[in-house]
Amino acid sequence: AQSVTQLDSQVPVFEEAPVELRCNYSSSVSVYLFWYVQYPNQGLQLLLKYLSGSTLVKGINGFEAEFNKSQTSFHLRKPSVHISDTAEYFCAVALGYNQGGKLIFGQGTELSVKP
């Protein structure tokens, strides 16, 4: 069965500092990988996705993630964070979309950016 582990439940960081949010997944088959962001009192918004091809994926708001198959990881990074990046971040995996495409989410990482 597929599962997703986000290793940090909370990540406090100062504004303009770099940040990495960690995500590991387990799956016996190829998966698609996603990062979603949830701002307070809002729904889930897609940040970026990995389907195939280049292992470094760039997303919105300056975020990027690197797919590492040998380590089964898909860590999210940003070189310089802003106060407005304060939100909950969810890593998710999906089976091939021929199988319906449900998402399996990690527990979430609360990113708190301080001035």
Binding site: G43, L44, L46, A92, A94, Y97, G100, K102, L103, F105
Partner: protein, 114 residues
């Protein structure tokens, strides 16, 4: 920009009552989903719906739950007899056809069972 719309944003109901959560997916999308997020926990898959039938459901989605797409635009989740543990944020999502990989989420409905 097209978006998934959910109503109401917040619903309070008494234990044992039936609730219907409503969603308007993005027009021309073909796959529809319900997820829930209990406070402080991860987002969990409930059910997926395609071609007017359930394509997959989780263990959470027991006989108390049902989904319907009554008129080609709305997508509803009904909980027949609510329990306290049904209190959660419920998210609707939709996705385009084959090859479309992004699921678009609504803002959620916060259900509080008292």
């Amino acid at each position: 920009e097209p978006e998934v719309t959910q109503t109401p944003s917040h619903q309070v109901t008494q234990m044992g009552q039936e609730v219907i959560l409503r969603c308007v997916p993005i027009s021309n999308h073909l796959y529809f989903y319900w997820y829930r997020q209990i406070l402080g926990q991860k987002v969990e898959f409930l059910v997926s719906f395609y071609n007017n039938e359930i394509s997959e459901k989780s263990e959470i989605f027991d006989d108390q739950f049902s989904v319907e797409r009554p008129d080609g635009s709305n997508f509803t989740l009904k909980i027949r007899s609510t329990k306290l543990e049904d209190s959660a944020m419920y998210f609707c999502a939709s996705r385009g056809g084959q090859g479309k990989t992004e699921a678009f989420f609504g803002q959620g409905t916060r259900l509080t069972v008292v």
